[in-house]
Symmetry: D2
Subunit: 341 residues, 4 copies
């Protein structure tokens, strides 16, 4: 069975396994106070061009989102996201479970538009009765988005400008950040991103780590007692060094970005095949998630040999499905798929 | 200054004040265990035609909504409402603060459509990934709605049928219930309503009481330990007899419905005047809230003599504003407004 | 049946009912923006000697506690109370339901001791692992306490000094404040209290109002957007003027304190009778709650004629029960009880 | 530096690393639907003698506790633990952050006593006012406890009997379960434990895994939609197979229990040394945590060469400190410590 469901199906870059084996019986301090975490933090801050920043490591994306958001917001404040945002849809109400509304605005191809956000925030400010509503205080975007699309430098800047004008914070969900930053269409690097928002995270789980996300904040004290908040949300790993070590390897010699390129290379090949075979793309994603409209009959048949994700119904006869490549995808897999199509 | 902002501006029906004065030094048991609460409960259940039902009294609408919803839902479940629903907008995130998402669907003139709800619930059931999302388990509608519109018997039945088909509960926010049930267009009575949902409440604050809402559930044990939940949400009045007494008076000799008629009578006159004077109604509400589109200049001028509510911007030049009548509105007030227009 | 269960059994001081009747058809602005609320606020601040303070009115004690505490604390912070504190015991987990731990320390006769609090806060600060625990940030005491006891000026000052030393806030639950401040043993007035804590509330429900508590904060901006927090907790009464009016009456001509004296007078008579009849007091309360140890057999017999509260088991044969007087208790009631004993 | 701080300082059993390397480029389904998780689940259920049970894997202990507890309890229900319980102290308010009170009772050497629990539950049931308090519905104990002590079969049975008598559930925190079950004093096996509670978890993080805990419930449907609850709490690892694989290895050939023995062996040697050198043990723990009372001066000196945990102050001159062995501790470490003492 050929598997193109997602980018979390393989293990990790071999360098990480090697390092894990090497230091297996070394004794490291707990809860992120170890040397690997320290080293990883320094490398990440350097890559991000952040002198006063700070870095925390946690296990997964939903965990990162809920911990960050519930740490920043006061009880009467909400986070603003597009309707297709991960926190709006596929986190089982994790944000609301911490007491906060996700205020949604409509997006385009998974992206938030600065003018739309601006209108939303202006309307809130103009509302004579806004004391009776939640106060938007944080904006959530994903890079790349849930549809594999990316923001340009200009687009991100515009959004951050709107945020600053209305005194709200900006966070970027980078669960697939590597794939977003290395794709051909991307005109920004991690340093630009890091300086164009208040807090973001670098996804490891889907980009070469066994698991783990690195939360980066532009200013060290952006969130007071964040470690205790991480603990409270069940997200403080006793063996924090496990996470530190992985990011230390990934941020050595630019490994994180180098390996991300493979996913993009394979995704481009995949896209080309679909187009040549006459399939219609639902969205022209420049990253590693390819959304294709396929007839339901064909989907059923294809699933005999390939696993991939159902996204949503397109019309009575067809559906939108998703194929995903990763840092580890091989050319043979793409070739196999071509045959099955 | 003529005041037509809302229906919570006056006190209460004089019968209530009289009764309060009469029994002021009587000693009553606390927390709703008194005789007035018992009597009011019996009268309400009789009016509702509910043999196995139960009634609880609490102070206000948002309190009723948050207490009911957080008592019914499991942590991973959500309540479904239209985008203009009170819980979706003007309760300062009260529902989310109890940990639950308000899943919104679009409505028409403030009303939920059965077919729209059906599609939403079907989509949820069909979604292969719904384990990653919240589970809709309760539907919230308002009667009358936030725009003063009402459901017909057929519409309510259709919605309840959809709910039962998908095994979700139905609650009705009746903060202005009296005005909805007595208006000309309404084809249902309180007994029909009570038997066409799982739980609803009868608004007293806006319909003749000093304050208070009566929560009515069709089955006695619909919510286990509801009294403790009411306590936990800060909604258990020590002097529960205050609420019981008010509803006991309002449900004697049909008083609640009789006094509601006055608001409808005055609202009809108001509407007639606006139409005759060439104003455009935003929504043709049959109840006591009249939404009118007025030029901003005119609004400013009108506010020198009349207070009313800004609703939202209509276009660059005009806004939607709201005028509200109540059980206590007098003909003179309507006549005064006519002069100012 | 003679009823001495609690001080929330009667209605309100007649002046309030009169005023309610007088202005019943007056139209007042909603949500606490009316003139009565404004006037009451000014009178209260004057009585409290607070120039930069602020006042909010809400319906009940548990509601006040949960709204205040959840507004002040960050998610990782806790409130400290004695084990017998109302928030630790009889609020059905209302504080925890807002996400916060109630950290308990032992008290003496319902009172917190400064030295005990100091030790608790010092231990927290000295704990090398306190990043893994909640951070105490607010101290909760009651005046009078749940056992009817009161703090002296010196005791309150000492507690507030400890709070300030450790940079935590102090709140005082004054659900029965009137009875505490007018009793013979009390050496402080409301102004001293108001200046010896960060926030407190003046109980109306049990001291002459129909219902309602006045939350007083020493500094106007102590809690940002408190009104929205009140709304979110379901505690923002549409007819806020109902509460404002009651406190406006109670804080005219010192009425609140004058009527409180009656409860103390009756409680002293009650205590005298119990002592003369050879009963043992569980606690020598100087206010309106009298705790007596009575044999279970005798309790059963007494309950044929008198209702009062069971407090807790004392030993196998006796129990602690509570008798409560109020601003409205009459001499006849005390005389009746004497006969039944 | 010799490190005896805790049992989470080393990596994992080499078999796990080998297996991880072996299947690194295999593609596995996400969110725990993979074959390794299935296999691990079967092995664990077999070891537990549970035919209708179920197993879920998550990352850490606090995460397990908060997810289990918030899934079982209704909003008005509490979990009961001893004062030294992990959820009562060192989880940064994680349980309260999900809305639930941790009701504490006093324990002995970290253990809950059946008679104490029984009294607590009886008092709750006898309390005429218990509608105003939280309802205890779940009992939390740790095996071994936070002080390294263990329950005997009889003690566990007695506690479970009390739970069943009062219709409350029993959960066992087994973060260090392996060390508890293999120590000399233990008279139960995992099957006895699994059948003497409703839900428990097997700690991997501290007993041979890189990270991960296996939650075991006696009945498959004990918690409905538990997977969605795990997702909501941020605890659903995309690469769930990482956890499944580790437990699959640990539950092959009894590995989990075999490697646990090493920690016990080393702890016994450690204890012997302390006793021979004249140190006083704070608690005579039979497992891998050794609590010793040492003079503060000596602690300071010792810390030049050895790292270990400060527990709490003992008196003005001495403190309680903790030394911990693990599945990976070597004899050389113990010998080194002997020299430094």
């Amino acid at each position: 069975m050929l598997k193109l469901d997602s980018d979390y199906m393989e293990g990790c870059h071999p360098n990480i396994l090697e390092k894990l084996a090497e230091i297996n019986f070394e004794k490291n301090a707990g809860y992120g106070t170890d040397g690997y975490s320290k080293s990883a933090k320094e490398k990440i801050l350097k890559a991000c061009g952040l002198e006063n920043g700070d870095v925390y490591f946690i296990s997964g994306g939903t965990q990162a989102n809920m911990t960050i958001i519930s740490s920043i917001l006061k009880p009467y404040e909400s986070v603003v996201a597009v309707e297709s945002g991960h926190i709006s849809t596929h986190e089982a109400g994790a944000i609301e479970a911490t007491g906060h509304k996700v205020s949604t605005i409509s997006g385009v191809d998974g992206k938030m538009e600065a003018k739309n956000l601006s209108r939303f925030l202006k309307d809130f400010n103009d509302d004579e009765n806004n004391e009776h509503t939640v106060f938007p205080k944080l904006v959530y975007i994903s890079m790349p988005t849930e549809f594999g699309t990316i923001y340009s430098k200009r687009e991100l800047e515009e959004i951050y400008n709107v945020c600053q004008k209305y005194n709200v914070y900006l966070m970027v969900d980078g669960a697939r950040l590597g794939y977003g930053l290395v794709c051909d269409e991307c005109d920004m690097d991690i340093s630009f991103l890091a300086n164009s928002c208040d807090i973001f995270y670098i996804g490891g789980t889907k980009v070469g780590a066994l698991f783990g996300e690195a939360i980066v904040m532009k200013e060290k004290d952006f969130i007071p007692h964040f470690k205790t908040m991480i603990k409270q949300r069940g997200a403080l790993l006793a063996k924090g060094w496990l996470l530190g070590l992985q990011f230390d390897v990934l941020f050595s010699d630019n490994l994180y970005f180098k390996i991300a390129e493979n996913a993009i290379d394979k995704a481009k090949k995949l896209k080309k095949i679909f187009i040549e075979k006459g399939y219609k793309l639902y969205i022209n994603s420049p990253t590693n998630q390819i959304f294709v409209i396929i007839e339901n009959e064909k989907i059923k048949k294809l699933r005999e040999n390939v696993s991939f994700s159902f996204w949503e119904k397109y019309d009575g006869k067809s559906s939108i499905v998703r194929f995903v490549t990763s840092w580890a995808t091989k050319d043979e897999e793409i070739e196999k798929l071509e045959k099955y199509l």
